[in-house]
């Protein structure tokens, strides 16, 4: 017994000390990342900053898909629709009626969430492949309507002349300026979702994902919760779409097709849908890697596909999942008594 205690005591002391230095190290890493983040637009080329702005926009929309997939087990290929609704609401209301940006975004969110509720209520009774197909159908219908309703969307010609976002006289009209606006918004939304995940509703979601019948027995209204998360996901899509419209100032139906919906799903899978950081990593991957590979000429699409396959095979939990495991393995064991 004595030997057991003496063998534990130094380890506990070590663990405590380790905790303090780990905290310091965490702050240092956070600070370094923050400085690096702030410096990027000053040193990187305009095209790289542009890609990073898109990465932030995709992070926001992809977060919705990632949350559905990783925390609720729902495959959604419909995010392009809500992304489009957000973008077209902003484009139409700013150019035709001259509404302020926040009001336009609010309308986009309102329409998106209403549609998500109306469509989600019946289709979220489905599960697995059938549900995925139903969301794909929604994406197809959305794309057709965006094309056909040209009085509203400009059809294939699109809508141009969307004003840049501004605070007072300061306009966010360059990639560099928009970068400093969009990433804080993305991080704020990630932070809110981290809250959600670790509070009551998050526990209910994860319970529902792992064992829906048992979740119902605990009093969780599984269907209602799925609809809620679907609506939340649609709101994120609309926010990203609205920001996109202000950033590019010209939008057309090409940005809201099935390929975009699949990209959002792809970034969720690659990033690691069960982690909060996953959408960021996934979004950086799908924006930066194709760009980096474009130097290889025609073969770049094949190379990108090869990258995707390799990632899925070697990192099945996505970048976020692998990162999480790496961090866990670097920590000294805190729970000495578990051994």
């Amino acid at each position: 017994m004595d030997r057991l205690l003496t063998s534990i005591r130094p380890r506990t002391a070590q663990a405590l000390q380790g905790g303090a230095t780990r905290g310091m190290r965490g702050v240092a890493i956070g600070l370094a990342l923050l400085i690096a983040w702030a410096l990027v637009p000053l040193v990187a080329s305009r095209s790289i900053v542009d890609l990073l702005v898109f990465a932030a926009l995709y992070t926001i929309a992809g977060l919705g898909v990632s949350f559905l997939l990783g925390q609720c087990g729902i495959v959604s290929i419909a995010q392009s629709v809500f992304y489009g609704i957000g973008a077209y609401s902003t484009a139409y209301l700013t150019t035709h009626w001259g509404w302020p940006a926040l009001a336009c975004m609010a309308v986009g969110i309102g329409i998106s969430t209403t549609i998500a509720f109306a469509v989600g209520w019946p289709i979220l009774r489905l599960s697995g492949y059938f549900l995925a197909l139903a969301t794909l159908a929604l994406a197809i219908i959305g794309h057709v309507l965006f094309t056909e309703w040209d009085w509203l969307t400009g059809g294939t010609l699109g809508i141009g002349g969307i004003p840049a976002l501004r605070i007072g006289e300061y306009q966010f009209n360059t990639p560099q300026r928009f970068y400093y606006l969009v990433w804080p918004i993305a991080l704020l939304l990630l932070f809110a979702h981290r809250n959600l995940l670790h509070l009551r509703t998050g526990f209910a979601m994860r319970a529902m994902r792992d064992a829906p019948a048992a979740a119902a027995v605990l009093g969780i209204d599984v269907h209602r919760l799925k609809v809620q998360v679907f609506v939340l996901s649609a709101a994120l899509g609309a926010i990203a779409g609205s920001l996109l419209a202000h950033y590019v100032t010209f939008i057309s139906v090409d940005s809201f097709g099935i390929d975009r919906a699949i990209n959002f799903l792809l970034l969720a899978v690659l990033g690691g849908a069960r982690t909060i950081i996953g959408p960021v990593l996934g979004a950086l991957f799908i924006t930066i890697v194709p760009h980096a590979l474009s130097g290889f000429g025609d073969i770049h699409a094949v190379l990108f596909a090869a990258f995707l396959i390799a990632t899925v095979i070697f990192l099945p939990a996505g970048f976020g999942g692998s990162l999480h495991r790496l961090v866990e393995s670097l920590k000294p064991s805190e729970r000495v008594d578990d051994k």
């Binding site: 670790h198 509070l199 009551r200 998050g202 027995v217 209204d221």
Partner: protein
């Protein structure tokens, strides 16, 4: 003692096969009631009807004096009618402690928006649930594994966790589906002691099992055979009943 659960005239069939034939069964408030029968007798079907996973073709289920026919599972749960599963249904990717926190869903209130913002109320609520989960870990002997993922636990501990989680909000009627399957003799003895303790705390129990030893703790036992209750009584009476011997032992 009044009746907490009354099943009257419940019939159910699957594709023309009549699984339950006008079954009547009562669970008195505060009692331990057993339901036994050979495989394929219709126990699980009856159990699913009581817990709300199936709607009976005919008949009525009354709970705490009101009809609960057609009431969804989660609403039954809110009224204190809770079940466990034959194969333990733990939340595999959550730790034991987190499984118990999820068990406190009914006891908490905050909604999605409050959780997104992380309001003080939602944080206080979670802190309270965590303390409650700590206590549940101790009570059910799960403290040593509290940080382990539930999916990686051996079957016996998964069952214990499921039971602890079901008891989290202090249910009125706890329905246990084959709680002893996959447990060794010692674990079954511990389970029996635990169930008697829960019952003493005021939780009524409905035990579905084909394990005669386990149902010995029941004050009344119903024997279900080919969709009908063939007799009811205490264990000793049943053991000497020729119909039960025939159904159960085939002699």
């Amino acid at each position: 003692m009044s009746a907490l659960l009354e099943v009257s005239g419940v019939s159910h069939g699957f594709r023309g096969l009549q699984v339950l034939k006008a079954v009547n069964l009562t669970v008195k408030t505060g009692s331990i009631t057993g339901l036994i029968g050979p495989n394929g007798a219709g126990k699980s079907t009856l159990f699913n009807i009581v817990s709300g996973f199936l709607t009976p073709d005919a008949g009525e289920v009354r709970y705490a004096g009101r009809s609960i026919n057609g009431m969804p599972v989660e609403q039954r749960s809110a009224l204190g009618l809770v079940r466990t599963f034959q194969t333990p249904q733990v939340f595999a990717h959550l730790t034991v402690h987190e499984n118990l926190i999820a068990g406190g869903y009914k006891a908490s209130r905050t909604g999605m928006l409050a959780n997104l913002v992380g309001t003080p109320a939602s944080r206080r609520e979670l802190a309270a649930l965590k303390r409650e989960a700590d206590r549940a870990c101790e009570r059910f002997g799960l403290s040593e594994v509290r940080h382990r993922l539930a999916g990686g636990l051996p079957a016996g501990q998964q069952r214990l966790l499921e039971l602890a989680r079901a008891c989290f909000g202090k249910p009125r009627l706890l329905c246990l589906d084959e709680p002893s399957s996959g447990l060794n003799t010692e674990e079954v003895n511990q389970l029996m002691a635990l169930l008697e303790r829960l019952n003493a705390e005021g939780i009524s129990l409905l035990l579905v099992s084909h394990d005669m030893n386990l149902v010995a703790i029941a004050s009344v036992i119903h024997v279900l055979c080919f969709g009908e209750i063939i007799c009811s009584g205490v264990l000793r009476e049943l053991q000497s009943d020729p119909r039960v011997r025939e159904a159960y032992l085939g002699v």
